[in-house]
């Protein structure tokens, strides 16, 4: 198998891991103000305090991995979405420090709670918009971005931004449903139900808008024989949504989160159908953007050895902090 394809798979995996792991973090952040000041918010925060840093590392791997494996894509996408990337990074600054700062300064805890929520919202929205900006195509000349600094701002990118944000809220709500107790738990299930319907509506909207952007997307999805394969993605997604809404209604503990993750995975698969084999649509393929074989091999050896170890100790860290964070202190 082609090393470039393997690396595209590894980057996709890192991005998926990021979306899975930081998606619910950011979703919890966005939902934060809707929880009552005091124990409810403390519970929500403590549900992710021990793991957020590890979750965010997947974003660094996504960026660093792209830099290493597809330097040309990295060098084009970041200038093309410059204001979005800067806004995302500053959003992550506000939300990252809030984890510590809110405990250090009770008098200004309200401010840091808002910075936690606002930072999470900005990060989620900009990530969705970066995705949209990539899908709608980037102007390239030679090896450089050649558009202006607001090319990314279109109705389509706003749609993808809202879509990803609402999807993260769904992940966050279903994650909290597993981790918190009492009134906060009821609130999590209620929110999950609303976010579930909203995610479904936005996924349909994005799915309808995307093939209209570019002829090649249309052909991927709607021409024979592609449609036979491609149609499985929305079909499966529909079935999973049905199961998701049922599990939320029945207040299952783990199932809603797992189903929400599966829906995200299918969303990524849909993206794959649209984008393949482009790293930067409409012109730059993964082979155009790929680092030389020597770099690919050097990193692949390390990744093959280290990645399983990372997954093991990450799982262990989650295991250490398993179960409900609880509302009562003395049992």
């Amino acid at each position: 198998m082609d090393l470039t394809v393997i690396w595209a798979g590894i980057i996709a995996f890192a991005i998926f891991m990021y979306v899975v792991m930081d998606g619910f973090d950011l979703g919890i952040g966005i939902l934060f103000p809707s929880f009552q000041v005091g124990k409810e918010r403390d519970q929500a925060m403590n549900a992710i305090a021990p793991v957020w840093d590890g979750n965010e590392t997947w974003l660094v791997l996504g960026g660093g991995g792209l830099f290493a494996a597809f330097p040309l894509a990295y060098a084009i996408i970041l200038p093309a979405t410059y204001p979005l990337v800067i806004a995302m990074l500053l959003g992550l600054v506000f939300r990252g420090v809030a984890f510590e700062f809110r405990w250090r300064d009770p008098r200004h805890r309200g401010f840091w709670d808002m910075s936690f929520a606002g930072g999470s919202l900005v990060a989620a929205m900009t990530q969705g918009m970066i995705l949209g900006a990539l899908l709608q195509g980037v102007t390239v000349e030679g090896r450089n971005y050649a558009g202006s600094w607001f090319d990314w701002l279109t109705p389509y990118t706003l749609l993808t931004g809202v879509g990803v944000t609402v999807g993260y809220v769904l992940l966050g709500a279903t994650f909290l449903a597993m981790k918190v107790e009492g009134r906060a738990e009821d609130h999590a299930y209620r929110t999950a139900r609303i976010a579930g319907w909203a995610t479904l509506a936005l996924m349909i909207a994005v799915s309808l808008a995307t093939p209209l952007l570019e002829g090649q997307y249309w052909r991927r999805w709607f021409e024979m024989p592609n449609i036979l394969f491609a149609a499985q993605v929305p079909l499966l997604t529909g079935i999973l949504f049905f199961a998701l809404m049922r599990s939320i209604a029945k207040r299952r503990v783990y199932r809603p989160f797992v189903l929400a993750l599966s829906i995200f995975l299918l969303g990524m698969a849909g993206l794959g159908v649209s984008m393949w084999p482009f790293a930067v649509p409409p012109g730059i393929t993964i082979w155009d953007a790929a680092a030389p074989e020597s770099s690919q091999i050097f990193m692949l050896v390390g990744t093959a050895i280290i990645m399983p170890i990372i997954l093991i100790y990450t799982a262990w860290a989650y295991w250490v902090f398993r179960g409900k964070v609880g509302e009562h202190h003395y049992h």
């Binding site: 974003l59 830099f67 600054v93 971005y145």
Partner: protein, 497 residues
Amino acid sequence: MMIDGLDALTLARIQFAFTVSFHFIFPAFSIGLASFLMVLEGLWLKTGKPLYLDLFKYWLKVFAVAFAMGVVSGIVMSYQFGTNWSVFSDRAGPVIGPLMAYEVLTAFFLEAGFLGVMLFGMNRVGKKLHFAATCLVALGTFVSAFWILSVNSWMHTPTGFVMGDNGQFLPGDSWMDIIFNPSFPYRLVHTVTAAYLTTAFVVGGVGAWHLLRNSANAHARKMFSMAMWMAALVAPIQIFVGDLHGLNTLEYQPQKVMAMEGHYDSHPDGAPLILFGIPDSEAKEVRYSIEIPKASSLILKHDLNAPLAGLDTIPDEDEPPVEIVFWSFRIMVGIGFAMLGLGLWSLVARYRRKLYDWTWLHRAALVMGPSGFVAVIAGWITTEVGRQPFTVYGLMRTADSVSPLEAPAVATSLVAFVVIYFAVFGIGTWYIMKLMHNIPHDHETGVKRGDIGPIRTAGITPGPSQNPGDRETFPGSNRESQGPEIVDRTRNEEGGD
């Protein structure tokens, strides 16, 4: 606005200098602090003395805040290469990208994966496993320094590459030639040692502050004593290592050393050491200089009469900005010798058994508390400005590395970074200082978070009023009384019941 007149290149350079300088303050502290925590926890496990556990928990709270700021400012750095230096990223990516990917894989995940257990997990995983987590976090900070300094060193002394037809730097036969490029070993040792010294002086400053308030405080005594050992032993090592690093720079980046020394002119028979003066790059001379004849040749060539070339041998367009490098170098070296002085002073005090009594020593240590940060930033300015006008030394110019961005975009983001960094990290630094202001005492609380969640089970040991039996777990504890108001304040600060 003032920045309206600047072009995108200048703005991008200011932005990178600003974000990386701000960022490096936190790792410079957390690399050393992680190791210090490892030592404290190790001593606690070995001796069973609760004093070490108290100190561990005292500094763990500081570490949590500093590490969070390091993480978020570090994520910014991992994207700054692409946002502002996309041409550089495209061309150098095949060589330095994999090293940065290795940093993520081997260091960032390790730190992040075990940080949660280190901060909240002692009661959940037990002492030994918790100590292992602390060690792994400390190891992670070092491994991170290893990779990123390899990348940085390669940009100073590029080796092991071939030029591709598309203008990219491509890896040559051996990755070892890239990773272990000529300046890397020196830079790594010099930087990590600097991080240890920086932390030692912070710890020493905090210890001194509390000794000045109460010289009988056993916790303050212990941290002050440990910090002064570090100062006395490591400062001379650092000066020696710095000298070796300078000789390495002379071999591979001579014009940087010329700028550091203020040598506009060549000296065929022994170059003077310019202690101070005002460099003037227009006139190409150092005004009002105080010099020691031939001493520069002695230091750099170990021969009084050895010839030393000056900037007159370098084309003007390849010269670094002398004024900045000249001054930043002197600030770094000056602080280095002041650190050595304090270390020696502490040895005298220790020998006379006055380490905890000489208040002038404590005042000096307090003033020197933040000096490591100044020295570290001055050192980085010396080496990075000294590499100009290149990003990849001698091969790729900074002017050719920048992203094709419009100046207003870079200006806006620069303003945003400056405002937000000063506000957020300023406040964070204030919180750290508040933590350091708390008197270190018996039964220190861990990283407590209200009464719920990871906290309830994971505050390393409950506060004294919550669990009076706590004391029994530490046989032989002989504690001074600190009075109840301290305990109360800690509890309030942490959110209380």
